[in-house]
């Protein structure tokens, strides 16, 4: 992917807080990243690590209250999305920024035909007339590999299988030729053989259409196969950021390292015992003043308890938020 190109999306220091009856939940803490044209950025993390909330915050999809985006800037197309009025934001969503959600059954409306749902953004955002929209909808269905597209436009979501429904979701997301596509666990609800079909399709579409993609997942295998760069999130923060090869070849955060060892594979050597990350993910009750991973970290030392590490550059586009230096096998100099 082109290095040094201006990012299409630049997120800086994003903070999102949920106000609940039990107090505040600091779901996203100072998350920064950028996305270059045509690039696929993978975002990995466990549930509750803040990966979905980050993406929802940028485009105003979180209900407020309880959510509140406290700080940060999100530059997209020369404007700050956090400062734009709801009307403009509405035009951007589904237009220049497309979405695919995890569960294709709940994100499609069961009482409208698939054709109607694909034509909706075309009419709304591009102002196409009905006939033109229908023609374009059929093209889109064909693009995502649904046979007999023109006829299938008249079908309802329940008449499609899970994998086909996810293809329909992708068609809707691509309808207005977005610059950025945000895919939130798009293959998690699918079976492996169907997931393989969808991953192939996405690779193909990237070559054809060249949009930038943010791909949220908890599956490191999926990331290894399709991403250019990866953000690893833990406890609402980015703990490591690296090109995909650097992340898998030379992981520098204890969490990333342990995560890679925890996941068994169907190929290669079989470990006789699984690596375990002891303990539970943190409860994000307050703004973190120490490293969120410290309770589960084998490298923990005194500094981890009193300071939250900032991301530091350790290589070409590779940074990590940790006080431990694995290359030296010792803590960093404070």
């Amino acid at each position: 992917m082109p290095d040094g190109a201006t990012p299409v999306l630049d997120v800086h220091n994003l903070k999102t807080v949920f106000r609940t009856r039990g107090g505040e939940v600091h779901a996203v803490n100072s998350v920064s990243f950028d996305l270059r044209p045509g690039e696929l950025l993978g975002v990995v993390g466990e549930s509750g690590s803040g990966k979905s909330v980050t993406m929802m915050s940028l485009i105003g999809l979180l209900p407020s209250p309880p959510a509140e985006v406290r700080e940060g800037t999100v530059s997209f197309d020369g404007q700050d999305l956090l400062q734009t009025d709801p009307e403009t934001l509405r035009n951007i969503r589904g237009g220049d920024i497309g979405f695919i959600f995890q569960d294709p059954m709940t994100s499609l409306n069961p009482v409208f035909t698939v054709g109607f749902q694909i034509m909706e953004p075309l009419k709304e955002h591009l102002g196409l007339r009905k006939a033109a929209a229908r023609k374009r909808a059929a093209e889109l269905l064909e693009l995502v590999g649904i046979p007999d597209a023109t006829r299938r436009l008249k079908d309802y979501p329940h008449q499609f299988s899970g994998g086909m429904r996810q293809r329909v979701m992708i068609a809707i997301a691509l309808a207005c030729d977005p610059k950025v596509l945000i895919a939130d666990e798009p293959t998690t609800a699918l079976d492996v053989t169907i997931q393989a079909q969808i991953l192939e399709l996405v690779k193909e579409l990237r070559q054809k259409l060249g949009m930038a993609i943010v791909w949220i997942t908890h599956d490191l295998g999926v990331i290894a196969g399709i991403a250019d760069r990866v953000l690893v999130m833990y406890g609402g923060q980015v703990v490591e950021h690296a090109p995909v090869k650097g992340l898998f070849g030379n992981p520098q955060h204890p969490y990333t390292r342990m995560l890679l060892e925890t996941v068994p594979s169907v190929r290669g050597e079989r470990a006789s015992r699984l690596q375990v990350i002891q303990g539970q993910p943190p409860i994000l009750g307050a703004a973190p003043e120490a490293c969120p991973f410290r309770d589960r970290c084998p490298q923990r030392f005194e500094r981890c308890d009193r300071e939250n590490p900032l991301r530091r550059e350790i290589g070409q586009r590779h940074d990590v938020a940790c006080f431990w230096d694995f290359n030296a096998g010792a803590p960093l100099n404070a």
Partner: protein, 355 residues
Amino acid sequence: MLDAAPAKKLVEVDNLKMHFPIQGGILRRQIGAVKAVDGVTFDIFEGETLGLVGESGCGKSTCGRAILRLYELTDGVVKIDGSNIADASTEELRRLRPAMQMVFQDPQASLNPRMTVAAIVGEPLMEHSTMSKADRLARVYELMDAVGLNRDFANRYPHEFSGGQRQRIGIARALALNPKFIVCDEPIAALDVSIQAQVVNLLEDLQEKLGLTYLFISHDLSMVRHIADRVAVMYLGKIVELAPRDALYSGPLHPYTEALLSAVPEPDPSLEAKVERIILQGDVPSPANPPKGCNFSTRCPKVMDICHEIEPEFDEVQPWRFTACHLYKETTNQTASQKAASTEAHKSAQLGEPK
């Protein structure tokens, strides 16, 4: 596990069928059947973990539930520790139940939110034993220790625990009556990766300590590779391949197993580059109306004419390796002498070393 010769068959399943009726018309007559499990045959040896894998809707969970007779079986024989539970009377079944237990997929849905941990784990003891209250509590504490739950939490409710801890409660409940055989139905599917490893390791430790036998149902092929000794692959209500773990993962025989394994994403980029993906076209057919001939014939990359006509037999094509595929038909059509030889091989294999 298999090398402890000669292993005893703890669970014997023969031609198990579980069909669910489809009703229709004004009179709600039966107009068809969903053949969720359509004739599966396998054994599980004592102390072994048999992995049962397949995609959603292939019938693996139904199979697991049917084996414990949580359904009334359509047909077939299920013997657990020598007793046929397929036609056991209710009373007899109740007597047999303590030996066979289940761990469910969703720990949120399978624990009663109004009961404390002590009550949940102690309930089987109340039903099936004559323990005094104090003894029961002592046993509950012992079980909580065994699964790594803090005793102090005995009076808490399920919602106060995380997903992984809830699954531990479910496991403690399953262990309460000292079962021999546990069906684990997707026990880790609802958990995060870092927590999955904790639960899998716990299951392995318990197996070693208590000599348990598991049927481990999962769609996660990499976890099954980790925990299982032998693996059965299901597709549309039938077992298409059954083999020892290492043999299955290093050289799958059935084209479906091959495609399924190739489709699993690889977290190691150095291996990922070498993976040759077989992308299956289309979707799984409906189990209410399976295709003629081989169930996999509609998607099989190696399909032949015969596959659309005749259903392949589930046969042992190599020692310890069973598959239902016409590609290995030569082996099925072998002469009597060869057959005898292979039976010999099987026998020695059973007594001997195969892993």
